[in-house]
């Protein structure tokens, strides 16, 4: 599904990703871990198509298609979803109107009519229930004045609505208390099936107790320096990142 080959990327001439190789197949859950500043969020942004990041070498294909030239919205239309570490506040645009716009723009791109209002409402209710989101919440301005937990839940709600093939969850666990974490993880697990894939970017192993990865990769200094199964996450939790750094620097 997603194939990243020798990816180099920089922002404002500062080289951040220095040769990433990663393949994600349908049905898989990958976790990308690593210390601060290792390039985790950059990798997520580059896959999602943030303009400020320049791919200097290598390539990214999605379902066999090179996506490097595609705008962020075109990647979204192909089924890539990025859950933001810091979701943006948009005052004056309600959660409902925002997600309606997002869904109908995706449909428009595929040559489909707008989703009938009745179906939209039904879908919104169903997904809101899945994430235990209060209906009143849906008429509030997007992310404005939301708590950290509400923002993240709203991200996963949007993911549920958009039903992506590939979901990248960037530090979705940060700022979540244990109950919110469980709700969010539950939501992700219920959305998971054999045809879609999830990439979880996280600092800590905590979220991985709930969203269990098939593969764990350690990103350090712009490269994936170690890959393994879910037990690698436990090892990192126990020993920290220093031994990895030492291994790499040796």
């Amino acid at each position: 599904m997603l194939k990243i080959d020798n990816l180099h990327a920089s922002v404002e001439d500062k080289s951040i990703l220095k040769g990433i190789n990663l393949e994600v197949k349908p049905g898989e859950v990958h976790a990308i871990m690593g210390p601060n500043g290792s390039g985790k969020s950059t990798l997520a942004s580059v896959i999602a198509g943030k303009e400020e990041y320049e791919v200097t070498k290598g390539n990214i294909t999605f379902d066999g298609e090179d996506i490097e030239e595609l705008a962020a919205e075109e990647r979204a239309h192909k089924g890539i979803f990025l859950s933001f570490q810091y979701p943006i506040e948009i005052p004056g645009v309600s959660v409902t109107n925002f997600i309606k716009t997002a869904i109908n723009e995706s449909r428009k791109a595929k040559g489909l009519e707008d989703m009938p209002a009745k179906d939209m409402l039904k879908l919104i209710r169903e997904k809101a229930d899945l994430l235990e989101i209060d209906r009143k919440f849906l008429s509030r301005s997007l992310n404005e004045g939301f708590s950290g937990g509400e923002k993240k839940r709203n991200e996963i709600f949007q993911m549920a609505m958009l039903d992506p093939k590939l979901a990248i969850l960037d530090e979705t666990d940060s700022g979540l208390d244990i109950d919110a974490l469980r709700i969010v993880a539950n939501g992700v697990n219920k959305l998971k099936n054999k045809d879609n894939a999830v990439v979880v970017i996280t600092h800590y192993q905590r979220l991985l107790d709930y969203i269990v990865p098939d593969f764990v990769h350690v990103l350090y200094n712009g490269r994936i320096v170690k890959s393994g199964g879910k037990e690698l996450a436990h090892e990192l939790e126990e020993k920290g990142y220093d031994w990895i750094k030492e291994e790499v620097n040796a």
Binding site: A48, A72, E73, A76, H77, I90, A102, L162
Partner: protein, 437 residues
């Protein structure tokens, strides 16, 4: 002949067509003298530092446009808020159009200045109010000198005017260039409530210069909501001089939506002559091309315990320029004044310019006054956020602009008006968001 000379000599012709033996005409005579003395404002004047009239004054304006072309309602329907029942006072090239208008004398007067100037039953109101709020600056004086037509609205006390009043000035461009000087008077007596929508619209690409004066009197506990839609074509310029005098406990608001025109200058002045008065001045400006919009506001706090709220949002693209000059004066007697002012701007292009200048003159010591202005760009990370959800960049930008304007849009009290503004913005940005905010 330059425009000033032309206007001065036209005044003599104008006098042939009006009753010179009236109180009004004395005011006109005084006013033309002021204009003769001061002339058109130039950039040397502090209040005109960022707005030059030079270019638009070069046209050879016809000062007395010929009789109008007939306009059919269906051809201009789109310029009305047509999905609501309303009173309408419509002018074509400065002349009243009875077939497009819907006026009334039933318990209130929603009609014409020309009638108010000449009929005895209006004499008292005219004597008490006409030219009592307008300042003696050169442009307002020029309008006063030529004042003969416009909207006349008098709402007696304890009256809730259930339908909004739409005042629309069309110009048909019969002449190569037309100058119009409408004069409106709005008097709202004790406890009454009125909503007014005003629009100036040119129907051709010939040059139009409108120098408009509107005087509004909100008497004790009156509520006046005034909306200005400025979305004219790129050869039409507007100098809008609006003066609002408020008495005790009255509530007045002016919303100005500036989306078009070549040059637009809004001189908006509030005078608070009583206690516990509330004044609101809000505006959204979204322009591009070589357009220029200048908001020059004044709130004069004269008595204690009053409030004013100013909130102006501007979005400037291409080579457009914006000016915000907001003056708040708090007199020594005006203790416990709450005066707020905000001016936020987004520059979309590198070539767009905004000059923003808050001016606070506070002589009282127990007041709350705040002002803030910002100039920024569209938030790139917000754009990326929306794009990552599948919303294309153009639509994402539009959504951000709506969000940016939302505070102002939200205080529009006529839902159809709010929808219309939303649609005008959507058209302007070339998007269809499929929902109203």
């Amino acid at each position: 002949m330059d425009l000033k000379e032309k206007l001065l000599s036209s005044y003599l012709v104008f006098e042939d067509h009006v009753d010179m033996d009236t109180h009004i005409h004395n005011l006109r005579n005084d006013a033309i003298k002021i204009f003769e003395e001061k002339g058109f404002p130039t950039k040397k004047e502090e209040d005109w530092k960022y707005t030059s009239l030079n270019k638009i004054l070069k046209e050879d304006y016809s000062v007395f446009p010929k009789q109008e072309n007939a306009i059919e309602y269906n051809d201009v329907k789109k310029y009305f808020i047509h999905d609501i029942d309303s009173y309408k006072i419509v002018f074509i090239d400065g002349k009243y159009s009875s077939h497009l208008s819907q006026t009334t004398h039933d318990g209130m007067d929603i009609c014409l200045m020309s009638a108010a100037f000449t009929k005895p039953k209006y004499r008292l109101v005219i004597e008490n109010y006409f030219n009592k709020a307008a300042s003696k600056d050169s442009l307002s004086s020029l309008n006063t000198a030529f004042s003969s037509e416009g909207a006349y609205i008098h709402i007696p006390k304890n009256k809730l005017v259930e339908k909004p009043i739409q005042i629309i000035h069309f110009s048909t461009g019969n002449e190569a260039a037309t100058m119009l000087q409408p004069r409106n008077l709005v008097v709202v007596d004790e406890n009454s409530h009125v909503q007014i929508i005003e629009r100036h619209q040119s129907l051709t690409s010939n040059a139009v210069l409108t120098n408009s004066v509107t005087e509004i009197f909100a008497n004790k506990r009156a509520i006046v909501d005034y909306y200005k839609i400025q979305n004219d074509n790129s050869n039409a310029s507007l100098i809008d001089n609006t003066f609002i005098k408020q008495k005790q406990e009255s509530v007045a608001s002016v919303h100005t939506f500036s989306f078009g025109g070549k040059l637009t200058r809004n001189n908006l002045n509030f005078y608070q002559e009583g206690e516990r008065i509330d004044s609101t001045l809000k505006g959204v400006t979204i322009i591009g091309d070589n357009q220029h919009v200048d908001h020059n506001t004044l709130v004069h706090h004269i008595e204690p315990n009053c409030e004013s709220h100013q909130d102006y949002k501007g979005i400037f693209d291409e080579n457009s320029t914006g000016v915000f000059n907001g003056k708040v004066v708090v007199e020594k007697e005006a203790q416990k004044t709450n005066a707020f002012q905000a001016n936020n701007n987004i520059l979309i292009s590198d070539k767009a310019t905004i000059n923003t200048k808050p001016q606070l003159e506070i002589f009282a010591d127990d007041v709350k006054c705040s002002h803030g202005c910002t100039i920024g760009q569209l938030d790139e990370s917000a754009l990326f956020y929306m794009q990552s959800r599948g919303i294309p960049k153009k639509e994402a930008k539009a959504l951000l602009m709506y969000a940016f304007s939302n505070n102002v849009l939200n205080s529009v009290k006529i839902p159809e008006m709010k929808q219309r503004i939303t649609k005008i913005i959507a058209n302007k940005l070339g998007v269809n968001l499929g929902f109203d905010l």
